[in-house]
């Protein structure tokens, strides 16, 4: 379940035109999509935004994995819809607002689905964020799949000692999770301590400005994609803001 939801935000290596773009361009494209979904207040706007989001997702072969997360966010969307109706919005408006939520989740997930932690690191460097912050963030992101795998292994070990995780009411199940959560947290803490030591013995932080092996450059393809997206985005933004 946990895995299923998070699956929509975890990078997996796929070869597509979109994946190969420079991470900065991907960030630009998805920010544009997120901006548009935030500004979608009417059915035609929503159709344009969601259509584009899905098109990009299918172009990058991530439609299926995004779909899982969207199916989950649909639960929230329905809640939003019901509340809107109860508060007295029209059906159309309630529908637009709830779908807008789905669109925001979808457009955000595209960036994370197609950008590896390494690329993310480069983007953050490019923005000149502090090195320790970048390192902390990238490490945390890298740890997520490791933690998930850990959690599965721990659940297996405890089930093998007779722990029932699939039965009983919700309170019982939540309480039954402490044999899973405790080793998970302990492992994470121990691991981070070990990581810190392992980094120090390899001279992390010894020099002010460490050197780099690769500095990513924008290729022609990236430039074309960036310019194209901006030329499409600006008129759409104008249309969204002033014409609908």
């Amino acid at each position: 379940m946990m895995y299923w939801v998070a699956g929509g935000f975890i990078y997996r290596r796929v070869d597509s035109f979109f994946h190969r773009l420079d991470a900065r361009v991907k960030l630009l494209l998805t920010s544009e999509l997120v901006a548009l979904s935030l500004l979608s207040f009417s059915p035609p706007e929503l159709i344009v935004t969601m259509g584009t989001t899905f098109a990009v997702a299918s172009l990058s072969h991530t439609l299926r994995r995004m779909g899982k997360t969207l199916a989950f966010s649909a639960g929230f969307a329905i809640t939003i819809f019901v509340i809107d109706i109860l508060v007295g919005y029209s059906i159309i408006d309630a529908l637009v607002y709830s779908l807008r939520f789905v669109a925001i989740v979808g457009s955000t997930s595209i960036f994370f689905l197609t950008t590896s932690p390494d690329e993310l690191e480069h983007v953050m460097r490019w923005f000149r964020l502090p090195r320790d912050l970048i390192f902390a963030y990238v490490t945390a992101v890298r740890f997520v799949p490791v933690l998930l795998l850990d959690a599965l292994q721990i659940m297996d070990a405890q089930k093998s000692r007779g722990l029932e995780l699939e039965r009983g009411n919700i309170f019982k199940r939540v309480r039954n999770f402490s044999p899973v959560l405790i080793p998970l947290v302990v492992n994470a803490v121990v691991r981070s301590g070990e990581l810190a030591e392992a980094m120090e013995v390899r001279a992390y932080g010894a020099v002010e400005k460490p050197t780099m092996l690769y500095s990513p450059l924008l290729r022609t393809m990236d430039k074309i994609a960036a310019i194209l997206s901006i030329t499409l985005f600006l008129p759409t933004l104008y249309y969204f803001l002033f014409l609908v």
Partner: protein
């Protein structure tokens, strides 16, 4: 008793970890599973208590298809002690950690107290009973895992890499524990890279490579075969290597003393 029938299994990421496994393990026997990293040993044993269900084929334990029971139900009969202790220790004290399974299976207080004492004493953990499991050394943690599984006295015991991190004395202890269980009619399955540890036990040996069982039989016979050794990247136990070099029947040498005696007799005979 444990039966694999044409079992194949694929992990979520598409890695095929088991290919068409057929296997029968009888009650009261000792079986060792060996093979290089990633051969599929752990995946295979995870099928026995139902943690993994076969994609194709069927696994039956005591005649029951594992698909029809929960892991907790099967675990009552099949105890697995896993490779990594850090993935299971969570209690505040060694005592509570050992009692975890007993409570889950709803054993009476009297039984709990008895089994607890037995397990802590057997695994040399009695002096740590009120200590947090997190503070134990690596080898002690591992022993605590054994204790916490053997405590409910399962009919089948599966040990995944039991000797990793154990000193010589405690390896011997594990050997004697296995002998003890076998004499009580229990079934044991050991996954291990430590062929030197397995050799004195002379188990039935399954060699795995790339998700398949490539050899199955008495340890001495299986490991005498050069082809198997090469395919599975194994190194023979020293005593077996010696026997082969001396052109002896592979099972003759079960300890160094015996080997020395034989060599002496031979060298005298040669002169």
């Amino acid at each position: 008793m444990i039966e694999f029938e044409n079992v194949s299994f694929k992990h979520q990421n598409g890695v095929t970890a088991l290919r068409n496994i057929n296997l029968k393990i009888e009650k009261g026997t000792l079986t060792a599973i060996v093979g290089e990293n990633g051969a599929g040993k752990t995946t295979l044993v995870r099928h026995i208590n139902g943690l993994l269900k076969p994609a194709e084929g069927a696994v039956r334990v005591f005649g029951i298809n594992t698909k029809q029971q929960s892991v907790a139900q099967l675990s009552k009969k099949v105890g697995i002690a896993f490779q990594n202790p850090d993935n299971q220790l969570f209690s505040d004290t060694v005592t509570n950690e050992t009692l975890f399974g007993l409570k889950n299976f709803g054993m009476s207080e009297k039984e709990q107290a008895e089994r607890l004492e037995w397990a802590l004493n057997f695994f040399d953990l009695a002096r740590y009973r009120d200590v947090s499991p997190m503070l134990l050394s690596g080898g002690e943690k591992k022993r605590l895992c054994f204790a916490s599984v053997l405590s409910w006295d399962p009919d089948v015991l599966i040990l995944d890499e039991p000797t990793v991190g154990q000193d010589y004395y405690h390896k011997e202890k594990i050997t004697s524990m296995i002998m003890d269980l076998l004499s009580k009619g229990k079934t044991a399955i050991i996954v291990s890279h430590d062929l030197e540890f397995l050799w004195p036990l002379q188990p039935r040996t399954l060699v795995m490579a790339q998700g398949q069982i490539i050899a199955d039989g008495a340890m001495a016979n299986v490991l005498s075969d050069d082809e198997t050794i090469k395919r599975a990247n194994l190194v023979r136990p020293q005593l077996l290597e010696l026997a082969i070099e001396l052109h002896l029947h592979p099972r003759v040498l079960s300890n160094v003393k015996e080997a020395a005696k034989l060599i002496l007799v031979r060298s005298v005979g040669a002169r």
